[in-house]
Structure formats: structure tokens, C-alpha cells
Amino acid sequence: MLIGAPEIGYALTVVALGLALWGGAAAVTAARAGRPALLASAERAAVGVWALITGCMLVLVHAFLTFDFSIRYVASNTNRGTPFYYRITALWGALEGSIILWAWLLGLYTLVVVIRYRRRQPELYPWVLTVLLAILAFFLLVMAVPAPPFERLSPVPADGRGLNPLLEDSGMITHPVALYLGFTGFTVPFAFAMAALALGRTGEEWITITRRWTIIAWYFLSLGLLIGGWWSYHVLGWGGYWAWDPVENAAFMPWLTGTAFLHSVMIQERRRMLKLWNLSLIILTFGLTLFGTFLTRSGIIGSVHAFTQGSIGVFFLTFLALVLLTAFSLLAWRMERLKGQGELDSVVSRESAFLLNNVFLVAASFTVFFGTIFPLLYEAVWQEKVSVGGPYFNTINIPLFLGLLFLMGVGPLIAWRRASLESLRRNFVKPVLAGIVVAAVLRVLGVGHALVLLAAALVVFVTGTMVLDFWRAARARRRTGDGWAAATFGLLLRQNRRYGGFVVHLGILVVALGVAGSQAWSLQTEATLARGETVELGGYRVRFDGLDASEESNHGKVTGTFSVTHGARPVDVLRPAKKFYPQEQTPIAYVDYRLGLLEDVYLVLGDFARDGSHATIKVQVNRMVSWLWLGGLVLTLGTVLAVLPDRRRPA
């Protein structure tokens, strides 16, 4: 039989799987018996695994670029018309390829762990390597058996099916990468937690070591969620960015528990409390990243992203069960060492603010989990099909998130252990008043929406606490002779961890305002227009100027031309379209929009007359949606600040 790309790719996968298994076994033996030669071998195996997965990716990219349709995955996800850049990103356009991406990123992280910690953490490191290689082995097993990306297709077709048209978008280039960097990123703190348990070193060490890893994983997961929202907003044509779809929930749940973890580790670092809780949270977070993949890839729940795939669900569920069983057994085994050394002194303290933050986040995660699997449970018990929609998730999560916003103002400023009445007054009276005043002013100006008023009041309160804190600190530095600029930058850099967190919080506030504003104020209408006719919405006037048809490299396209004016001022000419892909049963809407800081004009072409005389158009004026994307930018700045090297201690 001929040896082609499919066989080479498959061989690389199998060798990588063997190496990962060997490496894992060698690392665990080295960890238990302390044999340096075995550890060195495990290290070489880890490097080899990463190189081999890189090889797999290169083989697949090459196959995509050269239209090698003898690989089923290539034939299913590209055709001769697919543009060059989408042929590269088609690599993670479907299940099999996204598993390679996951494995490759995990391999990359493993490599970084090897380089960073082999000398620095000689005791924990062999165990960490064991865990990482074991998880890598699982993903390679998935690549080898239930979701083989290199499966041969014969006879070789002349042309491929083509990429899912919805994925031909810039968001699809970055969204999966960011999301998976987040998912795989949580593997590293998880591995350190397991290593700490295995060694019985249940102190703060593993948390301190993985602090930056956690922040970076959290950041990429947040970014992945935001880019996913952006993709949904500008590709799917319904004008929203979040639908409580199972696959969104699947990524949101680890974000919630990861956020809880990010905060609760601070209490352990400071007060040596919550050891058991922190370990449970990281296990839960890592477990949820696997559960999400199981949920969306096993086809048990219908979703816009779900693909029905044979046995992969069983693999993920089994692995998830194994992971949870092992992790919680380790936890139970070390239980006596997990007693906290600190005690909660008062209900009014930073500890309890953080604790409440954790309760809210975990509660949110649980309710999302419950809502997502409720249809499954219900069908199993009552034999009836039901669905739980957006209203369920909104009813529960809106109060929880408003509570979290409030805590965001309280947590960073309230005293550890016990806050005195005097300190509460000093820190919170002004911000609370500012929040109330702003809400009152908005109310007088005619804002009637309760959610917007509450969100605005809370955002002003939180911003107030941060400004107050920063201003006091900067004033103190100024007394030592610095100018304002020097004091500001000096503070940001010297206390980068604290103020990086502040900036991340600001980003979340901006996102929160975007969510509240867009939910409260967005408008939409729909109309069928003859050429020259107009429709009005929110002060905008949209005129239908005509239809055009054209043929693109891999699809046909009907484009409508619409002039948008606001009063007498011309705003833009928008060209929403419908794309006709030969491989799809029906056309795909192509949205056109004009983004603005306060409002976006957003057009979706609906039905049209085949002689071009009429077109049905959906017009939306979406308010404050851009704040979500701006919030992402602020989040990025804050994260960079937070992970800068700590200046307070000598490195």
C-alpha cells in the first residue's frame, strides 16, 4: 500500500502517544524512586511529544495547502475555492483538528514547564511532568482512536466539501486559539496541585508558583469568550453576542470557577485558609474544561456548535471520571494536612468578601451547569423533551453578577481579619454616595431601566473605590517627593499585582456596562422595501438602493446596497449580503454594520425578490455593544500589568 500523508500523520500520532506514555511512566518512577536518568528520559519524551505533535500539525497544514483530499478531514473542511488563510485555520475548523490544536498547546505548555521548573522545583517537577504527560497521552489517544484527523479517504475525491461557511471569518482564526490557550492553561496549576498532593506539600507553594499561569489561563479564557461573542455578533446575524447555548455555557463554567480560584488563592496566600477549597476549585475547573468538550463534542446536547461524533463522548467521559476520581482520592488521602491554619475573625472582613465572591461564582457555575444538563435529566426521568432558555439563566445570573460587582468594590479595600467602622466609613462612604448620585441623575435624565440604573450605580461605586485607593497611595508617594506622573507610574509598576487587578476589574466593569446597555436599549425592526423606499429606526433612516449578484472564489453572493442617514447627515452605505455555498443547503447571511462607541447600525439581508426589485431587511440599532470589545482591551492591559515581574521582592 502507498504511504502518503495520512499514514505519516497517523504514524507520528502513534509514536507521540507511545512517547507520552513512556514519559509519564518514567516521570512517575523518577518521582517515587528519584532516579535522575529516568527523569531526563521523561524530559526528552516531553520534548519529543511536542515535536511530533508539531509534525502532525505541519503534515495537516501541508495537506490543506496542497489540497490533499486523500485525508478525510481535509476533504471535509476545505475545497479548491477556500482562500489560502482559511485553509490554514481550517486546521481547527472541526473536531479532529481542534483536538490537535489542544494537544499542541498543551505540549507547548509542558515544554515551558520543563524549561522553567526542572532546576527550580526539583521535588514537585517530576510529579507535574507525570500529570502533564498523562493528560497529553489522553489527547493523543483521542487523536489515534475516536477522532483520527489523518483518516484516509478513498476513493480520493476531485474536490473537497469546503469549510463550514460560518467559520470563514477572522474570529475563527483567533477564537479557538485563545479559548484553548485558556483551557490548556488551567492544566498547569492543576498539575502542580496534584504534585503538591502527591508529595503532601499542601502549603502555599503550588499556588505561588502557578500564580502567573492561572492569570494567563484566565485571561485567554476571557479573551476566547469575548472573541466568541464578537464572532456570534458579526457572523450569525441575530445581533446578539451571547445565547446561553450549551457550548457557550461549557466555556463559561470553567471561567466562573477559574475566576473563583483566582480570588480564593489570595486568601490562602495571605491567611493560610481554604486549602481544601482551593484544591477542589482547581480540580473542578480542570474537570469542567474536559466536561465542556464532552458536552459539545459528544452530540448529547443540540447546539450550534455540536457535531454528532461517534465514540468520542465515551472517551471524554471516562477520562473525566478517572481524573475526578484520582484527584479527589488524593485529596481525601491528604485530608488531615488540609486543615486551615487561619480562622475567620469577622463577618466584616476581606476574607469574608472573598468568600462571598467565591460562593456567588460557584453558585453561578452550578446554576449554569444545572440549566445546561436539565433537559437531559428531565428527559431521562419524565421521558419528555424540554428546553431551558435564556430567561432561566438571566433570572439567576443577573442578581448574582450584580452581587459580584458590589463585592468587586468591597473586596480590594476592606481590611483583612476585621474591618473597623471607622475604616469602612473612610473607604466606602464617598464611593457609595457617588454611585447613588449617579443613579439618581440618570433617573432624572429619564433612564427608567432598573438593570441599567443598578449596574451604573455599582460601576460608579466600584470605580470610586479604586480611584480613592489609588489616589491615596499616589498622594502618599508624592509626599516622598515624586511628581504626579512619577508617583502614578511608580505605583503601577511597584504594586503591579494589585493595580493590574484593578485594571482587570475596570475591564470587567466596561463589559458589564456594555451588557446592561445593550440589553436595555437595543432596537430592531424588519421591513420589505422596494428600491428607493426607506425604513426608520432609532433616528436612523435606511434606504434600499438595489441588489447585486456576484460570484466569489467559493460561493455566489447577493448583495444589497442600503444608504444609512441620521437626520440630514449621511452615515454610511452598508452592504449586507446572502452567500450561496454549493456545499450548503441554504444561503448564509452576511451581516453588514457600522460600529460606534454608543450604538451600532446593523443590517441583515432577509428575503429578496429574484428580479431585484424588493428586499426584506432586518435593521438593528444595538447600543453599547462596542463596550464589550473595549472591555476586552482594558482586560488585556490589566493582565499585562498583573503578570509583570514583581518589583517588591528581589527576583
Binding site: L344, V347, A363, G371, V388, G556, P582, G612
Partner: protein
């Protein structure tokens, strides 16, 4: 011990509120999937359903001017007339599966607020089947410009 009791009381309150929210949320927003036969067996006006069936060929009426969409959903046993306001989604059509969300009007039809067309990953259309829309437009437009010349 007193402090402990306070924390436990607080925790219990939070749990109770949460349980209530979950209960209220689920009972408010749970939507039942029904087939036309199941719906007609016990139609309850005002309750939200998801009604699934096939769009019966020959029943689809679309008035672009008024945005009125009417069709009949069938499960082979019973048929339910459905009315909707707005453009049908891309995947919607006669002879295809569709799920509509809405409520029974009480006047003999189902009032749909949302149409969720069924998207099957497996289905592969014969080449050109979906192309009618733009091919025809292409032809007309080219014809138009030729005629104008």
C-alpha cells in the same frame, strides 16, 4: 462558636435564595417540546411550547410586504397551522423539518415567536440546488443591463 453560627446562618440563607431562584427560573422558562399531535391533544393557550414537525409542501405563504409568514407543521398524524411575523430563517423551507417556539393562540393556530430551522450537519445538497436564488438574480440583472444598453 457564635461567629460560626453566623456563617452557617448566612450560608443557609444564600443556599435557600439560590434554590428558590433555580426553582423559579426553571419553572418560568422551561419549554416543552411537542409534536402537532401532542399539542392538539391538549392545547393550553398562553403556555410556551416548542413545536416540531415538517413544513407541509404547498402550505407555505410568505407576504414580504406585511412580513406575514404562514405554514402548516405536520408530524404525519396531525397538522397545526402556524403564523409568524418576520422573514423565515435561511434553513427554513417546504418539506423541511422546523421547530417553532411560541404559544397556542386559542383561535385555531399556533403563534410562533421564533423559528428554529433544523440544521443537519450530515445533509449534503446536490450541487446547485440552493443556487436558484442568486443564479436567477444574476441572470435578471445581466439581462437588465443588456436591455438598458
Amino acid at each position: 462558636m457564635k461567629r460560626r453560627a453566623k456563617f452557617f446562618a448566612g450560608g443557609a440563607v444564600i443556599l435557600a435564595v439560590l434554590a428558590y431562584l433555580v426553582y423559579a427560573g426553571v419553572s418560568q422558562s422551561v419549554v416543552y417540546f411537542v409534536t402537532p399531535a401532542e399539542l392538539l391533544a391538549a392545547p393550553s393557550a398562553g403556555k410556551t411550547y416548542r413545536l416540531g414537525g415538517m413544513v407541509q409542501p404547498g402550505t407555505l405563504v410568505w407576504e414580504p410586504r406585511t412580513l406575514d409568514l404562514r405554514f402548516t407543521l405536520s408530524d404525519g398524524k396531525a397538522t397545526v397551522p402556524v403564523r409568524h411575523k418576520g422573514t423565515p430563517p435561511d434553513l427554513f423551507g417546504e418539506g423541511r423539518g422546523a421547530v417553532v417556539e411560541g404559544s397556542w393562540s386559542g383561535d385555531g393556530y399556533f403563534k410562533a415567536t421564533t423559528i428554529l430551522a433544523k440544521h443537519s450537519e450530515e445533509y449534503k445538497a446536490p450541487h446547485g440546488a440552493s443556487q436558484a436564488g442568486y443564479k436567477e438574480l444574476l441572470k435578471t440583472l445581466r439581462g437588465d443591463s443588456a436591455g438598458a444598453r
